[in-house]
């Protein structure tokens, strides 16, 4: 915290802000704890080893969950049904799911097996699942340690060709140019699919599907590049959407490092049902916490549709809410990539001072987190040169305020998903600025009660006020009021509502319970 100037934040406000945010999420967490979703159950199936697709192309995790759901058995949890089936048929979960996929039988119709045997089966499957996840996690942790964690801000770039092999090639080139993090952008509207596509993608629109095979291909490519450059290279994908927890599980299985994972993004920007998203995000983050996957929250999106200055406090408010939800999932702060963005209209007088105040507010408010800073996008135009200048100042603010994860701006942001050369130029810009201004944050102070300190405290004050209101009306009503991103969503509406269900009395899910208790143990 000594490497950057300070905002002299009103610590009373900071305390209040956290307190209110906690109360806000406490209210929602009650709803979450009582519920599960089809996607959460599919996650269980996946972690128990259910992979692949049926003949008609439906992922087997969907197959088994729908199978039980149709027969109204899901409120017991998929774990029981899989274990019961495995015992009954003396097969592995995968073989079981394949059989269901072939419509040989329904899990519900299989005779209930001896309780103790089923329980043992569940424990066995759970133990195996968790130990595999831990193995992957530990391997990654070790590789990171062996190769060394690159200095922050990490250089984060995206690939988005729609062809995973082309993506892999471009990702390798980027890593060799200096990229520390590679994100594979998902194909348009994948978040609205209530299943995860399968296999390698060679044609996507605006991106490449998030599939387990794609994760694997990319992980391998990056590990190769990492060994070549002697620097750990992180892999990112997107969790938010209707398959939020499943994608986290896929990330855990394939050793991803980061996942875009926001507690409200799906609601606001994809019109996904609130309850669905809240329940899903909990498990999704639990899996991330357990697997040492850093989440990246999506506050940058708010100021794409609302004004970055007058609505700055909604970013702060959401960051605090995201933090509390993450803590509830037992996530350590160092895995919280709290999101924010450099989106102020470049024509605003002293816009840079606002940006500095906002960026530093995020940094100071979450001292142990790893803030994820997003580049100018909405005011980027076809004037690629002006855009390159904006990206230069964006990089400067980042190094000056000590951000952790820097999604590099592309000079062609307004035109197309990045060309190879656009990515090179982005990396070159960041390397130049980060090195040339390395110790700038250490060197400067802001005038006491100057523009920047005042501005940051003002945003914080507004956030506290807003949080107080949200606390009063409840988060779900606040979202109905259009609090975030100037977007209003109704509680009952939105996609995926039908996938939410109240857990039965006999609901059983040792997988996540074990994760919870292990993580709780670590917290002590």
């Amino acid at each position: 915290m000594n490497d950057k100037p300070t905002l002299k934040l009103n610590q009373d406000l900071v305390r209040k802000a956290r307190e209110f945010a906690k109360e806000v999420t406490d209210g929602v967490q009650k709803f979450i704890n009582a519920r599960s979703t089809t996607s959460v159950e599919r996650t269980v199936a996946r972690l128990y080893g259910v992979d692949g697709i049926s003949e008609s192309g439906v992922p087997l995790s969907n197959v088994v969950v729908s199978d039980v759901e149709k027969a109204n058995g899901l409120n017991r949890g998929i774990a029981y049904w899989i274990a019961n089936g495995c015992v009954a048929k003396q097969v592995s979960p995968q073989e079981l799911a394949e059989a269901v996929g072939r419509k040989e039988f329904s899990l519900i119709d299989l005779p209930p097996q001896k309780e103790s045997v089923v329980a043992e089966k569940i424990d066995e499957m759970t133990g195996k699942a968790l130990s595999y996840v831990r193995k992957i996690r530990d391997e990654r942790d070790e590789m990171l340690k062996a190769l060394g964690d690159p200095p922050q801000p990490y250089l984060y770039v995206i690939v988005a060709t729609g062809n995973i092999y082309e993506d892999a090639l471009q990702a390798k080139a980027a890593a060799k140019e200096g990229a520390d993090v590679i994100a594979v952008i998902r194909s348009t509207a994948q978040s609205l699919l209530d299943f995860v596509p399968y296999g390698p993608t060679t044609e996507g629109y605006g991106g490449t599907y998030a599939t387990q095979e794609n994760f694997k291909i990319m992980r391998k490519a990056l590990d190769e590049a990492a060994q070549e450059v002697g620097r750990y290279v992180r892999l990112t994908n997107y969790a938010s959407g209707l398959c939020m927890p499943e994608i986290s599980a896929m990330g855990a299985l394939e050793g991803l490092d980061f996942l875009l994972n926001d507690s409200m993004y799906g609601i606001l920007f994809r019109n996904i049902n609130m309850l669905r998203t809240f329940v899903d995000q909990y498990t999704s983050r639990l899996v991330c916490a357990y697997s040492h996957i850093t989440i990246n929250t999506g506050e940058d999106n708010y100021i794409k549709t609302s004004d970055p200055i007058s609505r700055a406090h909604t970013v702060t408010t959401s960051q605090l809410i995201n933090e509390q939800f993450a803590l509830k999932s037992h996530m350590k702060p160092e895995y919280m990539g709290i999101g924010h963005a450099f989106e102020i209209d470049p024509d605003v007088e002293n816009g840079l001072l606002y940006e500095i105040a906002h960026a530093l507010l995020t940094r100071e408010l979450f001292p142990r987190a790893t803030p994820k800073y997003m580049p100018p996008t909405r005011h980027m135009t076809g004037d690629i040169f002006k855009g390159y200048a904006m990206n230069t100042l964006y990089n400067l603010v980042s190094i000056m305020t000590g951000q952790s994860i820097q999604l590099l701006g592309m000079l062609t942001e307004a035109i197309h998903t990045p060309f190879l050369q656009d990515r090179y130029l982005a990396i070159e810009n960041a390397k130049y600025v980060f090195n040339n201004a390395k110790a700038l944050g250490k060197e400067i102070e802001f005038k006491d009660d100057g523009f920047i300190q005042k501005r940051a405290n003002e945003v914080l004050e507004n956030a506290v006020e807003l949080l107080e209101h949200v606390k009063k009306v409840g988060l779900m009503s606040a979202i109905e009021e259009g609090t975030f991103g100037d977007i209003s969503r109704k509680k009952e509406e939105g996609k995926g509502a039908d996938g939410v269900f109240v857990k039965g009395e006999d609901y059983y899910n040792p997988l996540f319970e074990t994760m919870e208790s292990e993580l709780e143990g670590e917290e002590k």
Partner: protein, 256 residues
Amino acid sequence: MSVKKVDLTHLRPYGDQMDDGAVQLSFTLPIPDGPRGREAARQMANSMGLSEVQVVFSQDLKENFTFFVVYGHLEKYADYTSIKAIGVEAPKMDMEQVNDYISKYVKRPVVVIGATIGTDAHTVGLDSILNMKGFHGDSGLERYKMFKVHNLGSQVSPTDLAKKIRETKADIVLISQIVTQRNIHIKNMTKLVDILEAEGLRKSVLLIAGGPRITHELAVELGYDAGFGAGSMPSEVASYIASEMAKRALSSSKER
């Protein structure tokens, strides 16, 4: 004064003097960096009609790719005099003028329906045209008292749109297309026109497309009445609608 004047029938790029043809290029080639690579870049530029090509920068992008920055002098030219204005042609009116114009010639409020079609989830552009707030201080169509606006939001399918057109008795259909990767906008736009024609709705509405990569020319080519590109203002769209609706009202009253 001895500055060479422009010859509009032989229009050429201008670097620092008339007709020098100066052009800046950048591109990547899937070959290694080095003299041979730079020569390939030079030949590439030559193939485009550039002379005195200077490969001023080459940079290894790894994995056998090389980035080049190139300057050269274009020997080709365009005949500017033969280019007719292909933008939307309409008198520029402000909100009050538009309202008056519609009152006078159309004599009833005009029903506008707007949507982003296909899987495109970008709403900011369409909203800039439709919402009260408008764009850069220019009010959106909702604020015009002679427009009745239905904003259907994003990711609307052509069939749903057709249904809504009937329901609302829309005069004007505004669609937005932002994502253009692999020409998905062309596919979406074509599909919509096909469906509207199949449903017998195409002729009864004014069909307008917009988006940063949309040009009037492209829109017309795809069977639309007009297209609006990057930086369009709501009042421009409003003026166009008013003048077109007036024309239609006049011609149909004459027909009677």
